[in-house]
């Protein structure tokens, strides 16, 4: 992975450079016109955010039960990126919503889940920073419970109310929109994996630095 990092980074950069062109050439949606194109960044970010949250939960479980430090680094990196992608989702969504539905915000399943998930990611980072010793375990517990919560939030808010376009919107995209959409999905996931790799590696290096620090004392 290390050797592939720089080339993949270039690929990702190229994809993001090309994306706006790709998106601009996509057909306009009949009622929404330009604003609808926010969806090309919003929906992939949403996908990445969800996957990232689940990764954080899973890695936290491994950390708690297998006591694996590496799993803790993965959980931390995933939580941070959930926060980043969550911010993208929550900022881009209302832009689209205002035009589509006339309101900035509605309490439907996916939006609520995004908001709560984002809060849990932020809480994870706050605990990590201000919790004092043992905060790695505290945040791992939070991430695990947060991930387990996902189906419940989805279910309870879904039953409560739904306006958001159903999941089936993706496969039924008209031909001109499908390509840029999946292109953006690929670009976002590629960027995510690169960021995760870099971030996890940063934690590993911090630990190595601590080890060297201690060894130097001998």
């Amino acid at each position: 992975m290390r050797k592939a990092f720089i080339p993949l980074l270039i690929v990702a950069a190229a994809m993001f450079a090309y994306a706006p062109i790709f998106i601009a050439n996509a057909p306009y949606e009949s009622t929404m016109l330009l604003i609808q194109k926010v969806m090309y960044f919003h929906a992939p970010s949403g996908m990445v955010m969800l996957i990232s949250g689940l990764i954080a939960g899973l890695a936290s479980a491994v950390f708690l039960f297998r006591k694996s430090r590496a799993a803790d680094y993965v959980a931390l990196a995933a939580a941070e990126l959930t926060g980043v992608y969550g911010a993208i989702v929550l900022l881009s969504g209302p832009l689209w919503a205002r035009k589509a539905w006339g309101v900035w915000w509605v309490w439907d399943a996916r939006l609520t889940m995004a908001f709560v998930g984002w809060l849990i990611a932020l809480a994870y980072l706050v605990v990590r920073k201000y919790g004092g010793p043992g905060s790695d375990k505290l945040s791992a517990g939070l991430a695990l419970f947060g991930a387990a919560n996902v189906p419940f939030i989805y279910l309870s808010v879904n039953i409560w109310r739904t306006i958001h376009p159903q999941t089936t919107v993706a496969p039924t995209l008209p031909a001109g929109m499908r390509e840029p959409f999946w292109f953006c999905v690929a670009a976002f996931f590629l960027l995510y994996s690169l960021l995760m790799t870099a971030r996890v590696r940063l934690e590993h290096q911090r630990a190595a630095l601590d080890d060297l620090y201690l060894a130097a004392e001998d």
């Binding site: 006591k67 010793p133 601590d210 620090y213 201690l214 004392e217």
Partner: protein, 234 residues
């Protein structure tokens, strides 16, 4: 089946908190009938070592063996053989002495009516048994806490700074009790920074400084003068 053991062995035991080394590569053994003194200045890592021996703190690396049993997984059976008297005493101030002992006796699966009166007597608190612990002096609480730690006749007794706030008479009482327990086969580990009090009590000395073991030998009279330079804070 409570696994009994006659020695505790630490091998290259370490515990770190980020960049801070609390305990570093300590190799040590304590045997039945020993009173092992973990001596050293404050902050040397004695409490962390006690925590690891009590299976409350997981080591970062290294192993603990209780006889033949591996100490890395804390099981209820193993904990039944360990008694801990820490600096904080672990007593409920809102409850009476009797209520405290009864609760812990039942928690340990013992018949409270059978063991509590004896424990109250050994602590010298039978007259004050039904007074709230919040009304007790430090010395009284310490004696109560010691008897609480001994209710279940543990094989391994861990004491972290057990002499804090005790007057001479209380110190003598506690020391006598510890010698009795060791003579009956217990493994006693006492962590303290007070060399004078450890003098004459401990049978073996393990000196800890900055998390490392700097001396491990049988005890001889005159601990303070022998180890003064090693223990003095720079």
């Amino acid at each position: 089946m409570t696994p009994d053991f006659d020695r505790v062995e630490l091998f290259e035991l370490s515990r770190r908190f980020g960049r801070r080394r609390a305990v570093w590569k300590v190799t040590l053994a304590a045997h039945s009938r020993d009173i092992l003194g973990l001596l050293g200045p404050n902050g040397a890592g004695k409490s962390t070592l006690i925590g690891m021996l009590a299976t409350l703190v997981a080591p970062s690396s290294g192993t603990i063996r209780f006889g033949t049993a591996d100490g890395s997984r804390s099981s209820a059976a193993l904990r039944a053989q360990i008694g801990l008297l820490a600096h904080e005493l672990h007593l409920y101030p809102e409850l009476t002495a009797r209520q405290n002992l009864t609760f812990f006796a039942r928690l340990y699966g013992l018949e409270a009516e059978r063991v509590v009166p004896g424990a109250l007597d050994a602590a010298g608190l039978t007259e004050r048994a039904d007074d709230d612990v919040s009304s007790f002096s430090r010395g009284m609480r310490q004696r109560l806490a010691l008897e609480r730690a001994l209710l279940h006749n543990p094989r391994l007794l861990l004491l972290d700074e057990p002499f804090t706030g005790l007057d001479d008479r209380a110190v003598t009482l506690v020391s006598t009790r510890l010698r009795e327990l060791a003579a009956n086969g217990a493994i006693v580990v006492v962590a303290t920074h007070d060399l004078d009090l450890a003098d004459g009590l401990v049978t073996r000395v393990a000196l800890i400084r900055d998390g490392k073991l700097v001396a491990d030998e049988p005890a001889a009279p005159g601990l303070r003068s022998r180890y003064r330079s090693l223990v003095s804070q720079t």
